[in-house]
């Protein structure tokens, strides 16, 4: 499965490839150098109804993203395989017809599924859980919409996801109920405030009597939103570790050349389909080196295995610059 590409003629392909692979003076169609990216525009809070949202524009590739938090049940003691817990985020990518005007609807749907699964496996695992109380969690549901396309698709999507999570505001929680021990020899069967120490309207209404024991009936909660707290008195806080979210660097490889370039336009991608995707993120422990979260190699061209280490190092340098730039411009 690959992204629909333009149909270029052999002479166009050859023209682009020879310019890029020139040993001394590689040139690109818009005059950039090989390791130069197009300008990146990021804006936050574009959807007031979403818990976090962002818009990313790299050249003519534009992605808008938003996150909604849903409350889900999860029992930590159950034997669920790591990575499939119910609090893990969900992601959905909408590839609009205007981004790939020459493609059939089926292609767009399968492209959506393909990209959603990449983001789900390579980006979401680095998001920690948003716990409310012992068995309730906030589950982030991320939705991305691709409005227009001109190359560098996966990077833009990952960047939009990262920006969206950087902008995500989690509601603060307070506990409003505490139920004491359910001892059999506690003799106070009358009155609503029976066993344990209960407070809060929700708790008082919830208490029911059955078989001489008091218990919490279903559907009532022992937690509530803690509005009026926090720095801005709105009861929201940014997620921890948002500086350590991953980004993606895509190195485009040129057939029969040792040159590589980043941030391809749609034409350049059609002429050089082989790509090495590298997911990097800040390391919690070590300030200097980055962590490598994932590698994908696509395009069908085979490369010398001795090149991989060098490519990863170069990618890591580019990633470090980008991550530092992003982290210094986070919304506050």
């Amino acid at each position: 499965m690959s992204i629909p590409v333009l149909n270029l003629s052999p002479s166009e392909i050859s023209y682009i490839q020879t310019s890029l692979s020139h040993p001394e003076q590689p040139t690109r169609l818009d005059g950039r150098s090989l390791l130069e990216s197009r300008g990146i525009e990021i804006s936050y809070d574009i959807f007031p109804h979403a818990n976090g949202s962002s818009r990313v524009k790299i050249g003519n590739t534009e992605v808008i993203a938003g996150i909604k938090l849903e409350v889900v049940d999860f029992d930590p003691s159950s034997n669920i395989k790591k990575g499939t817990e119910s609090w893990r985020g969900r992601v959905d990518v909408d590839i609009t017809p205007q981004s790939f005007p020459f493609s059939q609807p089926n292609t767009l749907i399968s492209l959506s599924t393909y990209l959603s699964s990449i983001i789900s496996t390579q980006f979401l695992p680095s998001i920690n859980s948003f716990k409310i109380n012992s068995n309730k969690y906030f589950q982030p549901q991320l939705h991305l919409t691709l409005l227009s396309f001109d190359g560098n698709l996966l990077s833009s999507l990952i960047l939009a996801s990262r920006s969206c999570f950087s902008n995500l505001k989690i509601p603060k929680i307070k506990l409003i109920q505490w139920i004491g021990n359910d001892n059999d020899n506690n003799e106070n069967p009358n009155g609503i405030i029976g066993k344990g120490d209960l407070s809060g309207i929700k708790a008082a209404i919830s208490l029911k009597k059955k078989n001489n024991k008091y218990f919490l009936s279903k559907g009532n909660e022992d937690w509530d939103l803690d509005l009026d707290s926090g720095d801005y008195q709105d009861g929201l806080e940014y997620m921890k570790n948002r500086m350590n979210l991953p980004i993606l660097i895509t190195l485009n490889l040129i057939p029969n050349s040792i040159n590589y370039f980043i941030d391809a336009t749609a034409q350049e991608e059609s002429a050089c389909p082989s790509k090495l995707h590298l997911f990097f993120s800040n390391s919690d422990s070590n300030e200097e080196t980055l962590k490598l979260n994932g590698i994908r190699f696509e395009g069908g061209q085979s490369i010398d295995s001795s090149r991989i280490k060098g490519l990863i190092e170069e990618g890591s340098k580019l990633a470090k610059t980008l991550i530092n730039e992003l982290n210094s411009n986070l919304p506050n």
Binding site: F47, H49, A50, I64, P97, P101, Q141, H143, T145, D150
Partner: protein
């Protein structure tokens, strides 16, 4: 007794967003907002923002649907999950409501686009709703008109569209989401120069005596919108003329031609 529902019209004669009954929401029109489409526009009316991109006339993707004497028109509508509050993972295109909106847009424009000029080809209209506070259909139609003009496809006239509601004998123009839910409302779209109507849609009950008044009011409102749209189109055309340096070429030829509006 206070109710939590909003007041459609308060004692001062203002609506819930402080507008007068016949006041339209603040609008903004932009042309050429999509980098790769042949024609595109983004129209914002109040808090409703719609971006339309037009591709065509081009080879039909499905040869079987091609018509030998005219162009076929395809409309696809997509929304962002946060368009109307809410959000999360839900159907953003292809569901019944959006397909109906797409069909209404197609029916509105089929008699207006000069399809006989583009035989055996296809014109694709992609509507993307970026935020919605009522009036998705009227705003989409207005945006489609501008996108068609931006793409150079020949149309007979400007088509503008508006929603009209009724509250206890008082018609209201350009309804927001809360008003749309509560009031009987009529959506019309018309060819502004000839006063012809290409779409009249109503899914609620309305007393027949009120209908004519609302229709005429809607026609007036459509004319006002058209005037605003025309200003933007002319401004854009002036910029293109300036960039092409056509004015200086024409004035340097002593041909006596004037640039016509």
């Amino acid at each position: 007794m206070s109710s939590s529902r909003i007041e459609i019209l308060n004692d001062g004669g203002l609506r819930h967003d402080a507008r007068r009954p016949y006041e339209l929401r603040s609008t903004s029109f932009q042309l050429n907002t999509h980098p790769t489409a042949e024609g595109s526009s983004t129209v914002t009316q109040g808090l409703t923002t719609v971006q339309v991109s037009i591709f065509g006339p081009r080879e039909p993707r499905q040869r079987s649907q091609a018509s030998h004497d005219k162009a076929i028109i395809n409309v696809e509508v997509g929304v962002v999950p946060w368009a109307q509050g809410g959000g999360g993972i839900k159907r953003v295109r292809g569901d019944k409501r959006l397909q109906e909106i797409g069909a209404s847009i197609r029916q509105t424009f089929e008699p207006v686009i000069m399809t006989h000029l583009y035989p055996r080809s296809e014109i694709t209209i992609n509507v993307q709703v970026l935020s919605a506070d009522g009036g998705i259909l009227p705003t989409s139609i207005n945006a489609t008109t501008l996108a068609l003009i931006s793409s150079g496809i020949s149309i007979l006239d400007y088509i503008t569209s508006i929603s009209i509601g009724l509250y206890l004998k008082q018609p209201l123009l350009d309804l927001s989401f809360l008003e749309e839910q509560d009031l009987p409302n009529l959506i019309i779209s018309c060819l502004t120069n000839s006063n012809k109507i290409t779409l009249a849609q109503m899914e609620t009950r309305l007393h027949i005596d009120r209908f004519e008044e609302m229709l005429n009011l809607g026609l007036e409102a459509c004319k006002v919108l058209k005037i605003e749209m025309e200003l933007i189109v002319k401004e854009q055309t002036e910029k293109i003329v300036e960039r092409m340096n056509v004015k200086s070429i024409i004035s340097s030829n002593a041909s006596g031609m004037n640039i016509d509006e």
